[in-house]
Symmetry: C2
Subunit: 345 residues, 2 copies
DNA sequence: GTGAAAGCGCTAACAC
DNA sequence: GTGTTAGCGCTTTCAC
């Protein structure tokens, strides 16, 4: 069955292809009568427009590229889901690109996406290397950054207030009486990590608790890394009574590290995570965490991009959403229970 | 900066566009000398071919569509990750489509993908409604099914031996001495669920343990559903001593249902999951499960599709991979410990 | 080895 | 309101 074109429809309807094109794109002046007749004919024939051809002349592909480190990470999976939902509502398809935070994969994908003429790009990779970004900006490809970095460059972005998140986590622990609070950050390369750390320090200051660098550890995104880094923290002679992990995976790793050392959570160690992925309710004890409004993050980012695509000449903007503390079972007042098998000094 | 075309390159190189096209696609006869010179010039100019135009004439977009129920489900996220990895290696981008198992969303996406002329489609949705499939097959759009259904239709597919998976899970529990084994299936619509149930029955037979329908419950994919359904099972006067849940999420839900009733796992209840997602190592107790070779599933599916795209006229095939039991901490011999707070008859 | 030219299927002026 | 036509940027015969 040969695939049909707009010519076939035009012929069958006894009109020109321009007319058909106009009813497809519902623009131009068309009498209601011929409009309906043509719609009817298209339906009968089972005609579907070829969007590649359409894209070539109209310069719009209705596709957006989504760059993220790894979609198998629950945080990014949830983000991707919400992004795809919103994009689909607006008539766009999304192409996923796993960069593993590698700069060469990142620019590789960027080149591909550019060649394929995606209408816009959403970056949730956090790193956003200047050279990659430069490439895009130069080509005037609409872009929006999500959830992480908001570098010096003038690009649209949507993210949570990481400083506040760090502050919320630390002050929660401090107000529970904790004073030796370990913090595990994802990477010092990330602006988000730096901000969360600053928030943590700010809370410390407010509680007149001295900042001590020995309590800050750098990790990466993975759970195994969380186990390892938290393990090192817990093997100290003087060990922390609480850990603030900069993502839920690291927090879960911390719980596991504690458990394998016979330290129970929250009795022997309080743990706070970040992101509020669905994992929090899944582990035991359920994880207290700093919640990111993932859905809103996603929606706002897509909408921001969409407005650019519509050609609305709006000023570049940064949308900052506020995180909130989600209390569950992994934190408790320091010293409120007799700790068993616990050698805290 | 106006975007360049093949004409600009041809002009600068003093050759025709046909020649340039040939060096880009490394086909046709081109002298090594001019080839290099043109490559050089393209690099200097920063020229990148427009793949939309290329697609319009060559009929190949180097994009494949991936339909799945929900990418925020860890199983599908891992699958998607591996699919994207392999596709990327082969030079393809992947467009994700979340169907939520709704037939209208499914056919909606299918229409879109067809209009965008993706080179092929990967379906991991399990349902694969005949009408949707018919649409694709009719258009001769290459397709491969993953991980779930393998209906009557002649389509390529890759999946695990679900019967064997069910058998493995049940016989593990039976050999531990369990006789009242609840099974929670995702949906009776799914061939995979039916097969797993058959495997379960087969193991029962082998152990001369009578099959009793009261032990089989139907659920959906979610953890909340797992909690609910497992809860009903556990609230029976005579309750099961083990539960075989047809995915890890349901298994985790079962553990939570048990915990909230004061039943500990594995002492008061053994639980086996299915899929072997990374969640298994994350919960307490770590989950014994039937492992799917997700990576191989993904690779094989992409390769199968790829071979079709290359036009290799191969017979349709079904690749069946074998699952394996992954032992962790959520199962134990029935009766080997005094059960506490347990009213088993 | 290289080039001319006819599409691929559609959009968007512009003319009528 | 509807039709004509010139592209969009590339691939691909088929001459030379």
């Amino acid at each position: 069955m040969k695939t049909m074109t707009i010519y076939d429809v035009a012929q069958k309807a006894g009109v020109s292809i321009a007319t058909v094109s106009k009813v497809i794109n519902r623009n131009g002046r068309i009498s209601e009568k011929t409009r309906e007749r043509i719609m009817q004919i298209m339906a009968e024939m089972g005609y579907v427009p070829n969007l590649v051809a359409s894209a070539l002349s109209s310069k719009r592909t209705y596709m957006i590229g989504l760059l993220l480190p790894d979609i198998s990470n629950p945080y990014f999976a949830e983000l991707a889901r919400n992004i795809e939902d919103r994009a689909h509502e607006l008539g766009y398809n999304v192409v996923i690109c796993n960069t593993d935070n590698q700069i060469d994969k990142e620019s590789d994908y960027l080149t591909f996406l550019q060649q394929k003429s995606v209408d816009g790009i959403l970056m949730a990779t956090g790193l956003a290397h200047p050279q990659s970004l430069g490439l895009i900006l130069e080509k005037k490809l609409p872009i929006a950054l999500i959830a992480r970095d908001a570098p010096q460059l003038a690009v649209n972005s949507v993210y949570v207030d990481d400083f506040m998140g760090g502050y919320l986590a630390a002050s929660h622990l401090l107000s529970l009486g904790h004073r030796r609070i370990g913090i595990i950050v994802e990477s010092m390369e990330l602006e988000s990590s730096r901000q969360r750390l600053k928030g943590y320090r700010s809370a410390l200051d407010e509680f007149h608790c001295p900042y001590d660098e020995q309590w800050v550890s750098v990790s990466d995104f993975s759970i195994v890394s969380g186990i390892e880094v938290a393990g090192r923290l817990l093997d100290r002679k003087i060990r922390p009574t609480a850990i603030f992990a900069c993502n839920d995976l690291l927090a879960i790793g911390s719980i596991q590290a504690a458990r394998s050392r016979g330290i129970s959570v929250p009795e022997g160690l309080s743990v706070v995570g970040f992101d509020n992925t669905f994992l929090c309710g899944m582990v035991d004890p359920a994880l207290t965490t700093v919640g990111q409004p993932i859905r809103e993050l996603a929606r706002n980012a897509v909408d921001l991009l969409h407005r650019q695509l519509l050609g609305e000449e709006q000023p570049k903007q940064r949308i900052v959403l506020l995180p909130e503390l989600v209390l569950r079972k992994s934190t408790q007042r320091y010293g409120s229970f007799e700790t068993v098998g616990d050698i805290n000094l």
